[in-house]
Amino acid sequence: MSDTSLRGKVAVIGIGLSAVGKVPGRSPLSLAAEAARNALADAGVAKSEVDGVLSSHAFASPFHRFSVAFSEYFGIRPTFSNTLQVSGATAATMFSIGAAAIHGGLAKVVLLVAADSLMTGLTPDLALRSLTESRDQQYEMPFGIPVANTFAMTAHRHMREFGTTPEQLAEVAVVHRRHAAQTPGAQQTTPITVADVLNSPMVTTPYHKLDCSLISDGGAAFVLTSAEHAKALGIGRPIYILGCGECYTHEHIFLMPSLTSTGAVESSRRAYAMAGYRPSDMEVAGIYDCFTGTVVMMLEDLGFCRKGEGGPFVADGQISYRGQIPSNTHGGLLSFAHSGMPGALFHFHEVIAQLRGQCGERQVESAGLGLVHSLGAGFATNATTILGTEGTL
């Protein structure tokens, strides 16, 4: 590893959530502040010690510079800040850019924070319209393409090429719901079956309502600092950033190089290379699950199974406990919560909690290495992060 590698240089020392799910009467800034307060308390760090803030845009907030508005709201004056935007992959870039800023001396203690109020602040109809209207104004929007549609077309093509079945897709939703049932505060915990998924109303083929993620309120926050400073602070269980990688292959779905092989292949290859680990070394994962088929395709592109075998891999129980890679043990976007840009931060929160051994009855036994993959905009943006305990350095 060269001196410039980020591997193991930066640690996550605090994690926090706001109230999550259906949380009426709370602005995105208020939810962000609650998550930030919880993350700083978890780290045992005062807000006055935060000199960097990274955030993402909130649909239900009028503030374009969310990180700046947040800092004012929270009563801090950071000397490093930005509001990042690569859609669903933004969460991962908050970690990599925050780590790079710390390693490069731009900041010492960076707060990552994002929240939105899609469910009650914006309402589901407006949230879906906002997402739809973020697509190309000339070549996509005039045709009435729902946000689910681009992802649906990739899944549909995957079914065509590899024989992936609606039942296998539905199984993804079933597993996530089972995981959410063990997670305090999860938005949807009522058990569902494959038949329930297939009998739920069709949204856009091949996706039924229960193949689609939730619409939620809520936020999450994290505190990053250098490995040295984490030691000086006496942090009990620092979780290290071991590897990160990104890949951006297109903006428009019609320029996606392949509908069934995504930028996750390259983003994860880079993350594994930096971390010095292989897919089979991962013990727990957070995989962006905006739709059921997304998980199937990511399991392949992240190297957990071979191309085309994601469907049988899920149906075989490989993404749950005692499977090959327990994934989204909090229930994911499909059943825990999906509040837009912060959505993947919930995956980070869960994987880090797993690595710290804090997950109670849903704990994956002695998990030391974890992967989070976040993505967005019909697979236009992909980012992979590998995290580990002290023992994995």
Binding site: L126, M153, R160, P201
Partner: protein, 138 residues
């Protein structure tokens, strides 16, 4: 935030890069850009070739024939403007010239769309200035 006139279907607003493209559609032609340097054919319209960066681009009419690379039939409209249209099939069409484009099916049952189905261009004049390129079963 979502726009206020949600009952209106969004119409493309041609810009400096795309005026020629939309004028072509109004005149019954789907224009692709062909690069004189590297022979790349591209959809959508822009000032330079996406492959080699050359600005020597020539507009040529596409044959309008293609096949369905993937598709998804919409049952839940993305907003009030499209509610009356469901179900409708969104197509990812691979044109005979190579480039892919997004459009919708017209003129037949959306539930009959299949992979690799042959389609041909159908112009849909949705306003005085705008004709949308849709596809019908060939």
């Amino acid at each position: 935030m979502a726009s206020d006139d949600s009952a209106q279907k969004p119409l493309p607003a041609p810009d400096a890069d795309t005026t020629t493209f939309w004028r072509g559609l109004r005149e019954g032609k789907l224009l692709l850009q062909h690069c004189r340097q590297c022979r790349n054919a591209q959809y959508y319209q822009q000032a330079t070739c996406r492959e080699c960066g050359s600005d020597e681009l020539e507009h040529k009419s596409a044959t309008g024939r293609g096949k369905v690379h993937s598709f998804s039939v919409v049952y839940r409209a993305p907003g009030p403007a499209f509610k009356a249209d469901v179900p409708y099939a969104v197509l990812l069409v691979e044109l005979a010239e190579g480039p892919r484009m997004i459009s919708t099916l017209t003129g037949s049952d959306p539930e009959d769309v299949t992979f690799d189905m042959e389609v041909e261009l159908a112009f849909d004049q949705v306003s005085d200035d705008i004709a949308l390129p849709r596809f019908r079963k060939a």
